[in-house]
Amino acid sequence: MKVKIKISNIKAIDMLKFKKLGEEREKAIETSYTDKVVYSYPINELAKVLHPKSMKVMVTNIIKETNDTKTIVFKRLNNEPFPPFRAGQYVVLDAKIKGVSYKRSYSISSSPKNLDQISITVRAVRDGIVSNYLVKELTLNTDMVLEGPFGTFTYNSLRDKKQILALVGGSGITPIMSLARAIYDKVENCDLTILYGEKTYADILFKDELDKICRECENVRVKYILSDEKSSIYDTGYISKEQISEYELGSYSYFVCGPVHFYHHLDKIFQELDIPNKYIRHDIYKECEVGLHHNKYTLTVLTDNKEIDIPCYEDEPILKALENASIKAPSKCLVGVCGFCRSKLIKGKVKTDYTYVRGSDINNDYLHPCVSYPLSDVTIKLCK
């Protein structure tokens, strides 16, 4: 099929030019400079500064906050500042305990203003291997490894209301403490009211500093609510619908951080108050590190061209079984959100949470082992 198209003007030079395309390219190459190829781009370098693969750090201070809670302060071994972070972000701590490496995520509690050192605040939970180690055994000058900062539990001026009502249960105060400090230090520009629920007066974290920030900074307010203690000064009980309604509905974004049952409790209230999803931000919540160790199965792990059999338990996430067996597996958030632990289920039945698993990953049998529990013998393949 030949078509006659009138392509005026350029007809005369056609054929020759086509043949010359290659030659012209050749020429362009030959006349280009011969210097060595320099692979150095400021933005690629900046990316490494903002997102280091991991950071070697040293414990420079341990502050006792309450009976069961300590703040741990780190500086980088290379003396570089920490990468800038947003209040509300977390780091992943790699703790070596009796030869086993455990990774845990902790919100940064310090202000984003000071990057020479950052801190996390840890409450020892019953049977928690890492939290008890950190609170009871960790000593000054210990070297550790941190990854991060990660996470999206941060204030965003394009999305959130300028007024934040933080609803906090217990040690969930840590990311909000970072936010309060950030506002005080004028790093974040929003207005923060904290409803801070604790068991007893003695359990309240950062009380002196919070009170000081509230006195000196008109954009931060705190109200303590005690659940397990009668008090004539503070509200008591659980954070209630009435307390939340005291803050004009429609004017606030709600930042929630606390234990799992706390989320369930508040989700119900939000529903009753008809608050749109848009105004509710949840921090990733942390399951308690407890295991009842019943119903034992065999977990077969395919990794690095090897096949390894290890024990696993019905009430323990698969990621934990890997950790106990010292099998290196990728992980970050530990609560199913980040997808970093993504692995393929080859065989067996599991109970798992697919909320943050990509649709096509689900169709191809991928899951997040940090929120997957075995219901039979199971075989998984790690992605590394």
């Binding site: 005026s8 012209e24 390219r25 060595k36 320099v38 781009y41 990509r358």
Partner: protein
């Protein structure tokens, strides 16, 4: 352990290369520094939204009856039934901010020409010629591909005479020569930003093939996001016993006596092979992965001669209203200040440029997010290193938010909608994000700028002379077919076939 071939990077190009070779019975090692396959062809979750990381629309795919090259490739690779795609019934919708124009173009040649005639009277003749020419260019390119670098001059002359006439010219030159009315030229050029090069620079053939495919084959999207496409390739590769390693970065390519011998990874493993297929930039390969002393002069010259292409910012929005509630009825919105691509290209060397492409995913894929919500992407390109020049570690967060705010405001203005009040989730990817995720120089997302001798045809014509190191091939956006889904997939197969030939094992396809 010795492999028949090692592929660096599991982006589109790398995945297709790896699978093509593995399918031919080769023993392939695929190395990827991230934890998922696909490179930028992936997806991610924020709140209740699964966001597509890059794919707006793919060309050269088509459906059963108008099967395109990529669809045929997927068939050959045995993965066509593993992916769910959807054809779109519109091409582009363009809005200009300064001149207040708005044009909506359909699929199908007849419809397209008819619509153009409505907008620009007396454009039909030149439009018909244009599409005839597109068709011939498409067939000529197929012939060039089949001839594997050795086209018969006579065949070219007799079967593809018009192609020969236009092959060396820019889009602008040929549209002028077709005597297409200026306004029709301007509208027709809307897609220029997809190729990251304006009408005076971009090769006519390159643009023609893309537009033709969108109009004839229709644009397609992947219903389960591009992650499904990447995963289909990867799962098939694995099923055929291909070896892969994630979270594994290649830090050196071993070269001896002008030939590749293997790679060294960041965990200090050495893997041997006489074939290395790089789904990464020549800048990285010649500037960092291969010791300088072993980089041939020509390779240095070629790399130094090239100009990096588009960088980009992408704002991913999860909105808590449906597209109807928001008043968004199209899938893609091209928003420029004017329709003059050269002028807009210049504008986009500045950070304050707010030219953008908006994509409303739900309008093509209604179940992509929970009922009553919308997924909207705003992508804006930069044709300079302006973002790197301005971003610092202290202003990065602010800069990101300011750019996003500007783009959303522009989109609101152009479409007369209210977006801000509906934002439930927002994520912003910048050149820094892409630099970190892909390792590409300055975070470019489109490889090298398609201009002059670095346009499609010269790249393809010379690709057999540019293997300066024996056994080393480039695929993906920096490769001979340039950037884009279809191009990068096809580049993967091209390199694999070349490699097979080198292994002395030329296959039938």
């Amino acid at each position: 352990m010795e492999y028949d071939a090692i592929v660096i990077g599991a982006g589109n190009g790398g995945l297709v290369s790896a699978l093509t070779l593995q399918k031919q019975g080769k023993n392939v090692l695929l190395l990827e520094s991230n934890n998922v396959p696909g490179g930028v062809a992936t997806s991610f979750y924020r709140g209740r939204f699964e966001f597509e990381a890059s794919l707006h629309e793919m060309c050269q795919f088509g459906g059963d009856t108008r099967s395109g090259d990529v669809r045929e490739l997927f068939k050959r690779l045995g993965i066509l039934d593993k992916v769910e795609v959807k054809e779109l019934d519109e091409t582009f919708h363009v809005i200009t901010l300064d001149t207040n124009e708005e044009y909506e173009m359909p699929v199908g040649i007849d419809n397209f020409i008819k619509k153009m005639e409505e907008y620009v009277p007396n454009s039909t003749k030149s439009m018909e010629d244009f599409f005839e020419l597109c068709d011939e260019c498409k067939r000529a390119m197929n012939y060039l591909n089949e001839s594997k670098g050795n086209p018969d001059k006579e065949v070219l002359k007799t079967s593809y005479p018009n192609f020969m006439v236009v092959a060396s010219h820019s889009l602008q030159t040929v549209l002028e020569a077709l005597k297409m009315p200026k306004k029709a030229q301007a509208i027709l050029t809307t897609y220029w930003v997809y190729l990251g090069s304006p009408a005076p620079y971009i090769s006519f053939v390159h643009y023609a093939i893309m537009l033709y495919s969108y109009v004839v084959n229709k644009p397609v999207i992947s219903l389960n996001r591009s992650h499904e496409l990447s995963l289909a390739l990867f799962e098939e590769f694995t099923r055929l016993n291909g070896t892969s390693k994630f979270l594994t970065e290649v830090k050196e390519i071993i070269v001896d006596k002008g030939a590749v011998k293997g790679v060294v990874t960041s965990d200090n493993h050495i893997y041997k092979s006489n074939i290395v297929i790089a789904n990464v930039s020549p800048n990285l390969v010649y500037g960092r992965l291969i010791p300088q002393a072993k980089v041939p002069k020509k390779a240095r010259q070629l790399t130094n001669a090239r100009i990096l292409g588009a960088r980009g910012v992408c704002v991913y929005l999860g909105l808590n209203k449906s597209p109807e509630e928001l008043g968004l009825k199209n899938y893609s919105y091209f928003i420029y200040h004017t329709l003059d691509s050269k002028k807009e290209f210049e504008r986009m060397t500045h950070l304050k440029s707010d030219n953008l492409v908006g994509v409303v995913l739900n309008n093509a894929n209604p179940n992509c997010s929970p009922k009553g919500t919308t997924i909207l992407y705003l992508t804006s390109l930069y044709f300079s290193k302006v973002f790197s020049d301005i971003a610092t570690k202290d202003n990065y967060f602010e800069l990101k938010e300011a750019i996003a705010e500007n783009l959303i405001a522009t989109f609101e203005q152009a479409t007369k909608t209210n977006i801000f009040e509906a934002i439930e989730e927002i994520e912003v990817a910048t050149p820094l994000t892409f630099a970190r995720y892909t390792n590409h120089p300055d975070g470019v997302i489109y490889g090298y700028l398609a201009k002059k001798s670095d346009n499609l045809l010269p790249r393809i014509m010379n690709m057999f002379n540019e293997n300066y190191i024996k056994g080393l091939y480039f695929v993906g956006g920096f490769g001979p077919r340039l950037s884009g889904y279809s191009s990068t997939y096809l580049s993967g197969e091209m390199a694999a076939l070349q490699a097979l030939k080198e292994m002395g094992d030329e296959s039938e396809n």
